[in-house]
Amino acid sequence: MQETLQTLVGGLSLGAVYALVAMGFSLVYRTMGLVNFAHADIAMIGAYAASTFYLTSKLPFAVAMLVAIAVTAAIGLVIERVLRPLENKDFDLMLIGTIGFGIVLQAVAILIWGTTGRAVPSPLRSAPLDLFGVRVRTYDLLVMGVAALAVITLAWFLARTKRGAAMQAVAMDHEAATAVGINVGRSNALAFAIGAGLAALAGGLVGPMLYVDASLGGALGIKGFAAAMLGGFGSIPGAVVGGLAIGVLDSYAAGHFQGYSVLVTFLVFTVAIMIRPTGVFGERTVSRA
């Protein structure tokens, strides 16, 4: 019992990070119908930026995170700007473009920060909480709290603000949206910027849990992508459910199947996707291509 609960706690904290990554994927997909394959590497840049401002520039962790988010949001804007001429013209080229950006970002990270990564100490010094023998790290609670806050803010933004409503409209029918005077380009740029900011949030938060190096994107990307698929690509609640599900599934698979855990995780994932191809909250309304 204790082992089961401990595994759950371990899975949930990483699951929260996967959910953030999945949300970024989903947001861009939702508005543009495009999978941004550079997303995971933006998260890696965010992790590096946050750790640099936190460790080297000695900013408080929260401030370092905000700066990192600003940096990656700017990168998101640049990517969108470069891809904009292709929008509604060559979808495949846009996809390849995002893959290319991912590779460029990795190369840039190695140029700036070198090949060896860095360990980021936890910003919270307090000892883990002990709940009936289950140990819960205070930092994990912080990660889950921040992730929850990000989800609520994003949902509120999309549902309750004018900009958010405009983005939803573009997602449904960009031609009609253009006709009623919504600037599609600006809406897409905003989606990219927010998506990239979410990536930095995920990367920055995961830094103290893992190890920051140029390959961090690979570790986060595949699980985040799977989370988005499982939840239903394009759906924000789906991203959250998918993220937590992948995190917990991964954690239990590790306990029961040890060395074969990755295999089991993705087998379960494949079966789930076969049963429900659109994911848990899937609604295939977005298809720009």
Binding site: A119, S251, V262
Partner: protein, 371 residues
């Protein structure tokens, strides 16, 4: 004078020019370093390259080999066996006389058959027993095998310390698998069966399940067999879960990356089996550490020392064989007895040159000899 002449000679031939026939006796001697320069194992690759480069720079400063400069070129295998195999073919077509590295046993194993076929001697930094199983007469190890590391460790834990309750956590990569098998056998030979044997994957990030099982067994000591970063994460999470037992392991557990990843407090008391415990053990290691610091501004450590030894063995063999290549060079390496930083190298048929490690302990974030 000699070095000026060598420079002049080297200047005469364009790079890569000398590769037109196998028996080139003029121009630079081309030696390749193959190691991960990107990915999670890149810190290993970085240390290796620094060590090898230092040795080559010292030889070149002394005038090279018979007046010929040694030209060192780095290839990034990304820690990936497929990339490694492609590089092996490239080394053959570009007429490299020998290869140093890699630090990754899996990559070395993948490259082995190509290098054997092309008769290119390889001094690797891998330590998996799979390297010995390859039975390539062109493959040499610049350090002990996992069996040596873990037999020494098991003897210390069981015989010297009297530990009976030992837990194991290893990963299923080539290094972790090698460590798992070697330590399990060594412990069983001493009559101790580990109380739990947890296997994790190489890209796993959350170890709650394995560590909770280990915690329930209340072990005296936990054997850990995984590379630097993952081992660091395991130890960090273990301490957060309230596990207080010390960890014990081999080469990766003595590195700064392991210590930084886990945090200084978490690794206190970690028991490490290593052929190179500190930079202060001998005059040679002191001189090496000083030269390393001067060249790179960083503290020297095991992997740099291993690569330094490996490069020196190769260069010594090149000197005694007067710049031979292929089979003759491999024979010369096998015949080379070398007093290195890690100990006395004397190669056997299996390509293993050193069979001794010592036990160290991490105190205040530094690996120090056990007393």
């Amino acid at each position: 004078m000699t070095s000026a002449l060598a420079t002049a000679l080297a200047a005469c031939s364009a790079p890569g020019d000398s590769g037109d026939n196998d028996k080139a006796t003029t121009g630079p001697i081309k030696v390749a370093v193959v190691n991960a320069q990107s990915g999670q194992l890149s810190s290993l690759g970085d240390w290796e390259y620094k060590g090898a480069k230092l040795a080559v720079a010292e030889w070149n400063k002394k005038g090279g080999i018979d007046g010929r400069k040694i030209e060192l070129k780095l290839f990034d295998d990304q820690g990936d066996p497929t990339t490694g195999t492609n590089i092996a073919r490239k080394l053959a077509s570009e007429k490299y006389v020998a290869m140093l590295g890699t630090a990754e046993s899996a990559v070395t194993v993948a490259m082995g058959p190509v290098l054997q076929q092309e008769k290119i001697p390889n001094i690797t930094s891998g330590q998996s027993n799979a390297l010995v199983a390859l039975k390539s007469p062109f493959l040499f190890l610049n350090g002990p095998t996992s069996t040596t590391y873990d037999t020494t460790l098991a003897q210390y834990l069981v015989t010297a310390k009297g530990h009976k309750k030992i837990a194991m956590i290893t990963n299923n990569g080539s290094f972790g698998k090698g460590e798992h098998d070697a330590f399990l056998k060594a412990a069983k030979d001493l009559g101790v069966t580990p109380s739990t044997d947890q296997v994790v994957t190489t890209d796993q990030k959350d170890f709650s399940a394995a560590l909770t099982t280990i915690r329930a067994k209340k072990p005296d000591v936990i054997f850990i067999g995984s590379e630097e970063v993952e081992a660091g994460l395991i130890v960090k999470q273990a301490r957060d879960l309230g596990i207080t037992a010390p960890f014990a392991g081999a080469a990766p557990q003595g590195t700064p990356v392991f210590i930084d990843t886990a945090g200084k407090a978490a690794v206190e008391g970690t028991i490490v089996s290593s052929p190179y415990l500190s930079n202060d053990t001998s005059d040679a290691s002191k001189a090496f550490a000083a030269a390393y610091k001067a060249a790179y501004g960083k503290e020297a450590e095991l992997h740099g020392a291993k690569a330094y030894d490996g490069a020196n063995i190769l260069l010594t063999a090149l000197k005694t064989s007067k710049g031979a290549t292929g089979q003759k060079l491999a024979d010369a390496i096998r015949a080379t007895a070398y007093q290195g930083l890690l100990g006395t190298f004397q190669y056997g048929e299996d390509g293993v040159g050193i069979t001794k490690t010592t036990i160290g302990v991490i105190r205040d974030g530094k690996l120090v000899p056990q007393n």
